[in-house]
Subunit: 260 residues, 2 copies
Amino acid sequence: MIDLIKSPRTGPLDAALRKFKSLGLDSDEEVRPLVNVLRIEPSVRQGQDILRPGRSPKHLAVLLAGIACLYQRLEDGSRHIYTFLYPGDFCDLSRYVLIEMGGAVAVGALTDCSIGSIRFEDLERTMARQPRVGMALWRATMLEASIFRENLLNVSRRPALARVAHLLCEQLARRELVGLRGTVVPLTQIDLADAAGLSAVHVNRTLQDLRRLGILSGRSRSIDVVERDRLAKIAKFSGHYLNMPKLLSKWAVSIEAPTR
Amino acid sequence: MIDLIKSPRTGPLDAALRKFKSLGLDSDEEVRPLVNVLRIEPSVRQGQDILRPGRSPKHLAVLLAGIACLYQRLEDGSRHIYTFLYPGDFCDLSRYVLIEMGGAVAVGALTDCSIGSIRFEDLERTMARQPRVGMALWRATMLEASIFRENLLNVSRRPALARVAHLLCEQLARRELVGLRGTVVPLTQIDLADAAGLSAVHVNRTLQDLRRLGILSGRSRSIDVVERDRLAKIAKFSGHYLNMPKLLSKWAVSIEAPTR
DNA sequence: CGGCGGCTTGATTCGAGTCAAGAACCGTGG
DNA sequence: CCACGGTTCTTGACTCGAATCAAGCCGCCG
């Protein structure tokens, strides 16, 4: 465990540690208590569920690598994606905090994922001794709420182009926070559609618009963002709600110094 | 202060105390520390802001009476309502938990409101001594996230009729939680529109549909829910996400025993 | 090399927005 | 007590963005 912290550059916890840091556990001494009670679980394959609806496990799941999504299967069989999850994100903290019976949400692996888990009792002991850990989890919850809030705005007020653009900006920003630097958003158009509340067909057309504008790269099937700033402008994206002091300056530019 | 607790039936804190109780502060001994550091502020008139965007006060505001909303003013001047607030709800906990610079959200009073405030330092000391208080606030945050999440689903997947119905169900349920029993939802159609992500015109037509169906009362201008169950059925409303053990059974009926 | 899941494209439909104008209601002041 | 001005609520006509339906295509994995 100690090694995992000491060599963050290469360890499997690298990304998750960055996230924890951004939640206020700045120093090694502050994260260690949390890492010490973290158990590595067998990894989950693409398409499988990490958490199934209804169950109430006695431990908290943390995504360590891969991409997952918090989603719900609707009556008509369609899937609504509430948010995407990246390394360091907790998979449904509400299962710890609320006594929800019958919550229908699930967490699904969009790529192969590696997972860590923390038993509730261990978590409790850790928080009792290290108040900052409790604070960090509270902050994580707040952040999730912020994301939902912003998406609520996004989905209910913005037209398709801005909506998709915003979704893409968020994914890039969140990936960056945990050290995933590329310009590619490795999600399928279907994933995006289910998250944006648009039909897959329409997401497709929208992406093509973005390609035509030169904002996404031309002839690759993948979603490759070439012009971040114009994307952010279209999306009216400001990373504020993600509460990422470090990265903010970068994103904020396009908002606070608009080209009027 | 002590009196306020002892006679909850009539005190101005009645509703708020119910809410705190539902957050896990069951006994008088558990709420008292929180109430002891609560200061009553001068009340805010309808239409005024309780919290303005951008400011970072050094205290936490709690709604004690009245109805407020968490909202944001958009570039084009329109108003998006994230959620309505009832007695016992905290006004933007994120201002305490996150170091948000430039958050654009505000809290507005939809009726005359009375407000309590807790200085951050007092809060900190209270939480340090009474871990359950911290837990309650965490839970409140989670609940807010739950509400945002559900609304995200509501807004992005359901057609206008179900969407409005769902919104109404939520308001009734949340009012009930704090002891507001009536069947009337005292919001304007404009408020509903701004929260549902629909135009006021369309909300109007939708309400008329509900009246024609006999679900809302006929010839009053107010929104008076006559047939809760049918409303809940149309909305596919299950109160689960509100995490209200006490009231759940009542609402859950219409979902778990559908009239098929 | 065959198949299946994801991507593209076109034609058509429909829910909700917008614009516009009038009616009912509320508070306020003469 | 009534007249006035400002909200809020209603109603109708028209428009438009996005959903749906229906094929065909591409590219990867077995």
